[in-house]
């Protein structure tokens, strides 16, 4: 049997075209391409890919169905463990998870599991959304706080088990980071909406404009008769650098910049009424996926030059390789080993970014080599917009209004790793609210774990709550 060592390539929008539009970059496999790629899978007896997936999708099994052209069957297999395949197929860091463990990756390229997952989800999307599920209700109510990946995953699993699930969302639209954070060109909002519609078909109710911790507290939810509450409120608080000039006009947190564009549709101003500053020269500080998203969005808003400014080297960048690659193809300029020390202003507006060159020293606590400033290398980079994308931390709105909910000093909710149970009876948590900024799939995994734990506890006759935290 001859084995193809390279993947079937996927069609993408031309970089010169796509940098002027918000449409999706990757066009996805056709049926023929998907079957061809699926046929490369050697169907390992002990599949390492499955263990590499935070929600343990039965990867070889779904791929076998694709190889036979039986896409509906493949979809069923994925949906057994993953309710949001159209999203995961696009935004999971497969190269660090399932694909990283693929045996084919040793001599050649691993199976394109992410692309196949996306294909299966897209191909069957219209079919599944017309189905309505009949689930026998067990009469118990669960409240979910936040409608991002953690909350959606928990809600889906609990609804399938017969619980009455109510999701509370602070924004006017459900989806959390999938809606306000990740741009259209990486994750079309239509898909997120369709996945959420699918959830509603399971009987899940979503209440928007409800800020848990403000409009209603966690304790009030419990008083209202919810048997358990799952907190998946994310890590929405932007970090700033505390350097001079951060409050100049024209400085954004990546959160604000992306929320204006994605949730509020500022790219369509003045049709949409939310404005955004369109810079000519934009500097984005940070090296993660959010930094890439902000930089590429700036380009699409018409910036002439967009820089990524990152204090370590490209090797240490936390962004996915694919995102870095796409950003470079589109003409984003990477200034690595460069650390901003001051934002320079003129008449109150951003004019430039004062930076210093860095070199790498010994590894620090994160295991990455510590960046050290090189003396006398300061320079000023012209910029009229500066976007700060150096991370986010959990929002204290809930933890500050809930008695008995223990948190780490940095704000993350303390939970039992196995169950997601918090220090407070009947209250579970997962996703970025627990871990700090991480990935969509880890949040989904945490939501599923908590759903399982909630079910085990409630179905075993609500035995006494024994918190381990």
């Amino acid at each position: 049997m001859s084995m193809k060592l390279t993947r079937v390539p996927v069609q993408e929008q031309d970089p010169q075209v796509r940098k002027h539009n918000f449409k999706e970059v990757s066009l996805g496999y056709t049926l023929e391409e998907a079957i061809q790629e699926a046929q490369r899978c050697i169907q390992c007896k002990k599949p390492r890919c499955v263990a590499g997936c935070p929600v343990n999708v039965y990867i070889p099994k779904f791929i076998a169905h694709v190889a036979e052209g039986n896409i509906e069957k493949a979809a069923e297999v994925i949906k057994e463990t993953n309710n949001l395949p159209a999203i995961c197929g696009r935004v999971c860091p497969q190269e660090e998870q399932c694909e990283a463990r693929c045996i084919l990756g040793i001599k050649g390229e691993p199976i394109a599991i992410g692309r196949l997952e996306r294909f299966v989800a897209d191909y069957t999307m219209d079919k599944q959304s017309s189905e309505s599920m009949d689930i026998e209700k067990n009469g118990m109510k669960i409240a979910i706080v936040g409608s991002g990946p953690a909350g959606l995953a928990a809600a889906a699993d609990l609804a399938k088990l017969g619980y009455e699930v109510d999701i509370f969302e602070a924004f006017h639209e459900p989806g959390g980071v999938l809606i306000y954070g990740i741009p259209e060109f990486r994750l079309p909002k239509k898909l997120v909406k369709q996945e959420i519609e699918g959830l509603k078909k399971l009987g899940v109710k979503i209440y928007t404009n409800i800020i848990i911790g403000k409009t209603i507290t966690i304790d009030e939810l419990l008083e209202r008769g919810y048997e358990a509450v799952f907190i998946g409120s994310g890590a929405g608080l932007p970090k700033f650098m505390n350097i001079p000039g951060e409050n100049l006009n024209g400085v954004y947190s990546a959160n604000e910049y992306l929320t204006r564009i994605n949730l509020m549709k500022a790219y369509d101003f003045p049709n949409s009424h939310t404005p955004i500053k369109k810079g000519k020269r934009v500097a984005v500080i940070g090296g993660g996926n959010v930094a890439m998203d902000a930089a590429r969005s700036a380009l699409r808003l018409g910036a002439e030059e967009v820089h990524i400014v990152y204090r370590r080297s490209e090797k240490e960048m936390p962004a996915r390789l694919e995102e870095v690659h796409h950003a470079k193809e589109e003409g984003i300029i990477f200034d690595v080993l460069t650390n901003p020390v001051e934002i320079i202003g003129e008449d109150g507006w951003v004019k430039g970014l004062k930076c210093v060159r860095m070199k790498l020293g010994e590894p620090d606590s994160s295991g990455r080599r510590r960046p050290i400033a090189i003396p006398n290398t300061e320079f000023i980079m012209d910029a009229d917009i500066v976007i700060i994308a150096i991370g986010t931390s959990p929002n204290p709105l809930i933890t500050s209004t809930t008695k008995g909910l223990k948190t780490h000093s940095w704000g993350g909710i303390i939970v039992d790793q196995e169950t997601g149970a918090t220090s407070k009876d009947k209250v579970y948590a997962g996703g970025d609210a627990v871990t700090g900024a991480a990935t969509v799939i880890l949040a989904m995994g945490a939501g599923k774990k908590a759903a399982k734990a909630i079910h085990e506890r409630l179905s075993s006759g609500a035995k006494k709550y024994a918190s381990k935290v």
Partner: protein, 273 residues
């Protein structure tokens, strides 16, 4: 969707709306605000709560039709619905324990001052109120405030009612003649709050101001509402909206308020010709 239960034109371009929002009304406290979005493509804007009625389940907002969103909102009538309405956000005013308070309101800033005057009066505090507007037609809530204020002083720019001049003239006069207060509260346009604070600082009179900067979500997520107070950066939405007026960097706040002036002009030209 949130139903408009009542609507009143208080002054040219200044509108009061009572909105059915029982969950918010149950929790609302003086000093807090709501975020609203009029319709599908609308902008999210913060408005300070002007009154609340827990029994009726209503929140009152008072706004001046200055931009696209406020004009859009103003075009709605009783029985119409506001698409999104969320809150209450921000911290409540710290009013408990105050005995003698000087409340200063300018223009539409009198609206958020009103529930504080009411609350203070209800808990037995002595409340002197100074309110001002361009002219007598633009002065809002005078009658309502008279029900609660120990004394009310009025200033209009053109002298059509009360003192001809600014609220600051009256504040200075009251303090000069030796009136004693535990605390002052000033709400109005940023330059007015700045001017009041300059005077009260001379008299070492602690002064709280309420800021209303540009924000997107109102829950701490965007950081757009950051304000420098005493050299430290705070988010007005979660750390405020009220701050120690003697420590607020007003010049920065005024500058940040101007961020989308150009865009507002574009929107105005496109939409309203």
């Amino acid at each position: 969707m949130f139903e408009i239960m009542d609507k009143k034109i208080l002054a040219p371009g200044i509108v009061l709306m009572k909105v059915k929002a029982p969950l918010i009304a149950k929790k609302a406290m003086p000093g807090q605000f709501i975020m609203l979005r009029v319709s599908e493509l609308g902008e999210r804007i913060p408005l300070t709560i002007a009154d609340y009625d827990r029994q009726e389940g209503s929140i009152s907002i008072i706004f001046q039709e200055v931009g696209y969103t406020t004009r859009d909102l103003g075009s709605l009538d009783i029985g119409d619905h506001i698409m999104d309405f969320a809150g209450p956000l921000g911290k409540a005013s710290e009013l408990d324990g105050l005995n003698r308070v000087l409340c200063v309101g300018g223009g539409v800033g009198i609206a958020p001052l009103y529930p504080q005057i009411k609350y203070l009066s209800d808990q037995g505090a002595y409340v002197d109120v100074v309110i001002g507007a361009r002219n007598k037609d633009y002065l809002i809530l005078q009658k309502e405030i008279e029900n609660y204020a120990s004394n009310i002083y009025i200033a209009t720019d053109d002298g059509s009612l009360g003192h001809k001049g600014f609220v600051t003239d009256i504040v200075k006069e009251l303090l000069d003649k030796g009136s004693q207060y535990d605390s002052a509260i000033a709400i109005g346009p940023l330059p007015m709050m700045k001017a009041v604070c300059q005077i009260t600082k001379e008299y070492n009179l602690p002064t709280t101001v309420s800021l209303n900067p540009i924000m997107v979500d109102g829950t701490g997520m965007c950081g757009g509402c950051r304000v420098t107070v005493g050299g430290k950066v705070y988010y007005a939405c979660v750390d405020g909206p009220e701050f120690d007026g003697h420590l607020v960097d007003f010049d920065e706040a005024i500058r940040r308020q101007q961020m989308y002036k150009k865009e507002e002009q574009i929107e105005h030209d496109c939409k309203l010709g």
